[in-house]
């Protein structure tokens, strides 16, 4: 916690210096011909490709498709993970019944299921949704379970002594107590979500950012390949920032999140 170095315009610019220097180095190398465009196109060429793809509308279309897939998978897998995490966190019996099986499945890398998923679902939309949902399920499940389990038992006893019924106890004590951990799960899940989507879209898709990259590869359009990678990076960063904003809003009581 370097609290003293957090003020002033210089320190605010600090995190941007290295990326900026890298981009300048990249541009200079390309302009001087050290970097052939078929290996790595210049940043300006990537910007140009972005502009072209924006103008013909395909960038927005593909972005929309990818975003919708990511969110649907997140909502489906996240909702199931959250519900099972709560169930197993609140009921010892449910945990004994379900958790060992889930822990076993967790150890399978979900991308290893791709051949099977293609056999089951074909290469349609459901295959991609299934993979994303499966990928985000585990971080959300594990962290929800962990969060519920680790709510301070003294607070639960306090709630009972003050006559809280189960519903109030859940809403006022258990859920807020588990929330920091649930957010950790959400952030992990977002990382897995983009990763899974990239793989799923590059393997089998006829739309989306991953497809755009693979189609460009066929024609050696490295500028569009790089553009796709940059877009993934931006999407990942946006998702992370959104979660941080949610954390600041909902975990304002926690000094660790109050000002990040």
């Amino acid at each position: 916690m370097a609290a003293t170095a957090s003020e002033g315009p210089l320190s605010r610019a600090l995190p941007w210096l290295v990326p900026l220097a890298l981009i300048i180095l990249w541009q200079v190398s390309s302009s001087l011909g050290w970097l052939p465009p078929n290996i790595l196109p210049a940043p300006t060429a990537v910007l140009q490709a972005a502009w072209l793809k924006l103008q013909d509308g395909s960038l927005v279309d593909n972005l929309g498709v990818s975003f919708a897939r990511a969110m649907s998978g997140l909502i489906i897998g996240g909702a199931i993970g959250f519900s099972l995490g709560l169930l197993n966190g609140l009921s010892k019996r449910a945990e004994m019944l379900l958790d060992p099986t889930l822990q076993m499945i967790r150890n399978i890398p979900h991308l290893a299921l791709i051949p099977l998923v293609i056999i089951w679902f074909g290469i349609g939309e459901s295959a991609r949704l299934f993979l994303v949902a499966l990928g985000v399920f585990f971080p959300i499940y594990l962290n929800t379970l962990h969060g519920v389990r680790n709510v301070d038992p003294q607070l639960i006893e306090m709630g009972r002594i003050y006559g809280m019924n189960n519903r109030t106890l859940f809403l006022k004590v258990i859920l807020p107590g588990a929330l920091p951990s649930i957010f950790v799960g959400l952030r992990f899940a977002l990382g897995v979500m983009w990763l899974t989507l990239i793989v799923a879209e590059t393997i089998a898709a006829n739309s989306g950012i991953g497809h755009m990259a693979m189609a460009a590869r066929e024609f050696m359009q490295t500028d569009i390949v790089v553009l796709s990678i940059v877009i993934y990076a931006i999407l990942g960063k946006l998702a992370d920032s959104a979660t941080r904003a949610l954390e600041r809003k909902f975990l304002a009581w926690n000094p660790a999140y109050a000002k990040v």
């Binding site: 003294q154 306090m158 709630g159 003050y162 809280m164 004590v173 107590g177 009581w253 926690n254 000094p255």
Partner: protein
Amino acid sequence: MSSQPTGGSRVSLKDVKKAFGDNVVLQGIDLEIPAGQFLSIVGKSGCGKSTLLRLMIGLDSVTAGVLDAPALKEQAARIVFQEPRLLPWASVKDNVAVGLGEGQSGQAADQQAAAILDEVGLKGREGLWPSQLSGGMRQRVALARALVSQPTLLALDEPLGALDALTRIDMQALLEGVWQDLGFTALMVTHDVGEAVALGDRVILIDHGQVVLDLAVDLPRPRKRGTPEFAALEGQILDKLFGDDPRAREAH
């Protein structure tokens, strides 16, 4: 606006026994605690004093004997623990509102919460998070939460045990003032004999599950430590606690 006196309620125990399995924790406890009394309960660790407190407040049930406490039937008994046990995600005001129980909200509840926060000296801090308060202030919030429903019986389980020495002295004065204002029956477990004498109308000493000393403290309030009378009472309790072992007494 300050809180109105609530009055106290009596507690009586007749030949009470408490055992966990084969382990007898309390035996042959006979106590009459009149309404409004401030009772201090002292004893060594593991002597059963906290169990006695939990029995009197209805958190545990007696194994044998009779416990009669009208406050339990009227749900007018509350407890303050050594740790404040505040909800970290709720403001001071919302933490106090927990003490009002289900379905108690609106203007009347707000007024009650404001009055009790004023009583414990936390006026103007309603909107803060617990993490923004000092240890002493957090314990004041816990006290306000316990008192907001106007209990007639208040149990205090080492309520100041986690605080530093200066804050303790402050909080003892606060506790005495609140008790004098509201008039509830107070049952306080403490390991600090000086604190027991400073606050209690009566001090009982528990040893091996039995009451071995029952002492009335008849000194004017607020009490000054260091007066001969105060020291004599302290000495009497310490003698009973440690017997003739002067080194143990010295250490206390």
